[in-house]
């Protein structure tokens, strides 16, 4: 097992190198002028584009620019983010907790709810339960996230004045700013930091700010998990071993839960793993509408503004996330299905 994990982590170095060369190459297809224009926000500043090209060596050959960047990265300097107005590394650790916090609440709900609904739908195939869950799933999956988020915001915040956007109320934010010694930001996630500091009001307030983003994310994403689970259940329930179990008099609960569901879980684990990995780059629509400045918002803004250091950083991060996710999935496969061995 240890050798397997070590091998996969060694592979990570090659993956990251490949990702960085590929992305750097893609970004180099933009002209030096276009990359220099990243620093320009008004026509007044545009006169200095040639000087900016010289200053940063944007017209140097590809390999020189790549190695210059790599040298800085190895020194721990990921560059400067124009979108975040601070070093990329610092900005990352500021935005990542916001995304992670939402995923910590959303991911378990997506997985558990998806498995439950899929199981229910698979067991009650072609009944009203199946039809209802399928219709809801299709509606959820088809809804544009941005629109759905706006509708929820307008109803709950606009009409009922509940669940305001942002991550924490102004009063509590001001309290934290004014009393830095009495509130330590251990994780950057207010729900958890509130608990660790014994400030349950902060935790509850942060949770209130999470209700709409998490609901939006769950409703939109749960459909995929549910569909995969349903298909798995239907397939498993049609297999001979289920018939054998039924013939031997096993009760329905044992057949559905202990046998069929366990076997149907394998593809769900794959899909859920990929969903969790993908969610680490944030949901752009959710973060923009609910004014939660996380990785999704940062990535979208950086892509529009061609903030190269940020794009490189997030792509490398996602490379790491996917390698670790796949490794975890492989280990989980072995746990769920003992026939699979990690050779």
């Amino acid at each position: 097992m240890l050798a397997f994990i070590t091998r996969r982590f060694l592979l990570l170095i090659f993956v990251l190198f490949g990702v960085s060369v590929l992305l750097f190459g893609i970004l180099m297809t933009f002209s030096p002028e276009r990359r220099a224009a990243t620093y320009v926000t008004s026509p007044q500043q545009a006169k200095d584009i040639p000087k900016i090209i010289k200053q940063f060596g944007l017209d140097d050959p590809f390999y020189i620019q790549y190695f210059r960047w790599m040298k800085e990265v190895l020194k721990g300097n990921m560059g400067w983010s124009l979108v975040a107005s601070r070093p990329v590394g610092e900005a990352f650790w500021n935005y990542f907790p916001v995304t992670l916090e939402m995923n910590l609440f959303a991911a378990p709900i997506v997985i558990i709810f998806g498995i439950w609904l899929g199981t229910l739908s698979g067991i009650h195939r072609d009944t009203w339960i199946d039809h209802t869950t399928r219709i809801l799933a299709i509606v959820g999956w088809s809804l544009p996230t941005f629109l759905f988020a706006l509708v929820l915001l307008m109803i709950f915040y606009g009409y009922f004045q509940l669940f305001s956007p942002g991550v924490l109320s102004d009063q509590l934010t001001m309290f934290i700013i004014e009393n830095p010694e009495s509130f330590t930001r251990f994780t950057g996630m207010y729900t958890i930091d509130g608990l660790l500091n014994g400030r349950f009001d902060i935790t509850l307030n942060a949770l209130a700010h999470l209700v709409l983003p998490v609901s939006t994310y769950v409703i939109v994403v749960v459909a995929l998990n549910m569909r995969v689970m349903r298909s798995g259940m239907i397939e498993e329930l049609s297999k001979d071993y289920v018939m054998t179990a039924q013939a031997k008099g096993a009760d329905k609960k044992t057949i559905y839960i202990k046998h069929a569901r366990r076997n149907a879980l394998l593809p769900v684990v794959t899909v859920a793993g990929q969903l969790v990995a993908l969610s680490m780059e944030g949901s752009i629509a959710v973060e923009v509408v609910y004014s939660r400045h996380g990785i999704g918002w940062w990535l979208a803004e950086s892509a529009v503004q061609l903030d190269m250091p940020v794009l490189m950083c997030i792509c490398l991060f996602m490379g790491v996330v996917f390698v670790i996710t796949n490794l975890t999935l492989d280990i989980l496969y072995a746990y769920i299905d003992p026939r699979i061995r990690l050779n």
Partner: protein
Amino acid sequence: MKKTVYIIACLLMVFFTAVAKAQVKNPETFVLADYRTVQTIDPATSYDVAGSMRIWNLYETLIFFDGSSTEKYVALLAAEVPSVKNGGISADGRTYTFKIRKGVKFHEGGELTAEDVVYSFKRNMIVDQDGGPMWMLLEALTGSGATRDKDGKIIDGIFDIIDKSVEAQGDKVILHLPKPYPPLMSILCYTASSVLDKEWAISKGCWDGYIKNAAKYNNPAPGHEPLQKIENGTGPFKMKLWEPAKQFVFERFDDYWGPKPKIKTGIVKYVKEWSTRKLMLQNGDADRVVVDTPYVPEVRAMKGLTLYEVPQLGYTAAMFCRSINPAGNPNIGSGKLDGNGIPPDFFTDINVRKAFLHVFDRETYKKDVFNDLVIMPTSPNVKGLPYHKEVPFYEFDLEKAAEYMKKAWSGKVWEKGFKMIITHNTGNEMREAAAHMLAENIMSLNPKFQIDVRNVEWKDYVVKIRDFQYPLFLSGWGADYADPHNFVYPFMHSNGYYGRFMALKNDEIDKLCDAGIETADPAKRKTIYAKLQDIWYEDAIGVPLYQQIVVRAYRDYVHGFVPNAMFTDDNEILKRIYKK
């Protein structure tokens, strides 16, 4: 069962926390929701509207605009506004003397001296970052708009010139100009003229005060300027917290020399999505939000708001490029006048330009696109600037446009037709509408005229304008300072930002532009700028599109706002604001 009860109890607590929050409004806190981000709060490098807002509240300048005026000033860190009459400005317009106000404290406790002012001016000019704002002060005080040449090399002797341009004599600061520079007073109100605490700045790694070491501090990379995220000004507010692209929190400075601001805390929140900003305003979680023109009808329909209409010192035009780059340029089709393109010098024929001017329906544009909430300019010297005058404009007249097209290129244009692309920057609906209006009306003249309209992301747009790729481009300019030079030069001079990319070469214009900035005599300047405005019309240089009026939407319990055409809607002078 117990678990269920516990879960329901938790959910109810979350619910009531949210309810309780929605009802609390703090009368001493002002919240502005904006969507523009701040790059830096260093006065020497900040050159965007969001950064200016922060700096104007944290730092102070010697003088500032008097209320709504862009031509009258009040003293801030100066004891009085200098004038020729009180001896503060020499008769030849080359020496400005400022007596420094006494008893002014910086946020970290230091006391303001004339030396601080001298250091600040020199330090800011020495920094002169690429794409930064220091060209204004450099142009006025040294006669050179930069410390580096086109290749990025430091100009010989420039730092010595900077050193001699500002001096302290007792409690006075004296500015020595190489030649008269009429907009100087307006430039001194800009954030780039903010005053720092010398000792503090040096201790933070700014220029050490020795001119021989100046080169080391010149042109820092973005984010590497020592004052990028720290401040120590004399302004009425201190920076309490800055979470870039999240929020900026101001806290009242209790030792402020002037009247104590009524607002204790100012918060600027970054909220990109309009619907979210609108709901925040509706629920009172924001006291003001930035409203883009297309959303003005929505705020007009909301209750409990006070709206202000503020004309801006800004100008947008559609500009003709007279020497288009033909290399691989899809915007001019075949590059010939053969019915499938246009030649690179298509717009050198004034008949073509006049035809385009006659197809622009100003009245419809004003009504349909802006709901009449706009000023329709006639030249770059827009309303609100000194020496503005209404010059004639080309009436919407399709018959006249057709006549000009028939004359253009000795009748070849009409006979063969042409094909070209008009571009505008993505997301600007006002420019998009103008581009479509021009294209459709021109195409209605002759079925052989074909114009496509395309949108391009703003930064790509800038790059391609600079590469002379666009035959007709739509772009704008906001005021750096309130003087015609800041508008006429970029739009009309052959070395001006747009003049250059329109390939505009007119010796008379160049001479007039140069003469306008070199004389301080108001009568002479009036004649010069009147002539330039006439030339804009006579030479049909471009299609004047709009001078924007922004709408500011405040909750009705917010008072104290004073409109000023120099300030965009991102700006807020917090010391004037109060809630009642």
